[in-house]
Amino acid sequence: MFNAITHSQIYVLDQDEALDFYVGKLGLEVSADVDLGFMRWLTVSIPGHPERQILLEKPGPPAMSEQTAQQVRELVTKGATGGSLIFSTDDCRKTYETLRGRGVEFTEEPTDRPYGTDCGLRDPFGNSIRFTQPKA
């Protein structure tokens, strides 16, 4: 049966802005940036880990009608789509400070949980992102 998760997808409203954020601020790296003609296949991953990629997909025709794309964009900006990523980190508080310094919009400060220390942020479009420093 299955042996890995290789690709996950979230919707972004603008792929260049998504790159600025996911690569420029969060420090991910581009795994693929290919103009397929019908779409721009844009994926990012943790540096050195291309085996697990996140597709930054822009909703629009011909994959869906412009009307549907608009509904998707409205849901993303309400924080109501499934777009949700959870990363792990060695040092949650330090990463939080670094990203705050880069102007990242946090929804929750680092907090101790039974499973570790984690915090939450939003990407520029409304997707929810968290990162956790698992309990040693």
């Binding site: 964009r73 309400k78 959870i86 919009e105 499973y115 939450g120 939003r122 409304g126």
Partner: protein, 133 residues
């Protein structure tokens, strides 16, 4: 039409930013003018737009967030009900108890007796256990 769409997206994103502020700062005395400032709109416009966006008033959203956080603390800590009341942002134990019972269907003490802890990432617990209408 595209312009209208972008305006709606921008409004949604601002309302989401204000809602995030409630999720983050629920323990503080958040009022409509402060939230409207976060969303960059006038206070009257804020309440109306928030409701149109998320289906409930900002006051109701915040109340349910506070109750959800109180439910969490009742389950996972052994602090007193009065401490928890103030810790999640209520200013009077009477209002807390009344609001909690109206929303959850049990008093805080009864809820505590019946509750069990869940082991999933907190963001999902927060999103899914904030009590609905």
């Amino acid at each position: 039409m595209a312009v209208v769409g972008r305006a709606a997206e921008e409004t949604n994103r601002r309302m989401l930013r204000a809602r995030d502020a409630m999720d983050r700062g629920y323990a503080q005395p958040l009022d409509v003018p402060a939230l409207a400032r976060i969303a960059h709109v006038s206070p009257a416009h804020f309440t109306r737009t928030f409701r149109a966006t998320f289906g409930e008033t900002p006051h109701r959203y915040l109340q349910r967030r506070r109750v959800e956080r109180a439910m969490f603390l009742l389950r996972e800590s052994d602090r007193s009900v009065t401490d928890i009341c103030f810790q999640v942002g209520f200013t009077s134990p009477g209002t807390f108890s009344r609001t909690f019972s109206a929303i959850v269907g049990h008093s805080p003490r009864t809820y505590r007796r019946r509750a069990a802890a869940a082991d999933v990432p907190t963001c999902f617990t927060m999103a899914w256990t904030r009590p609905s209408a």
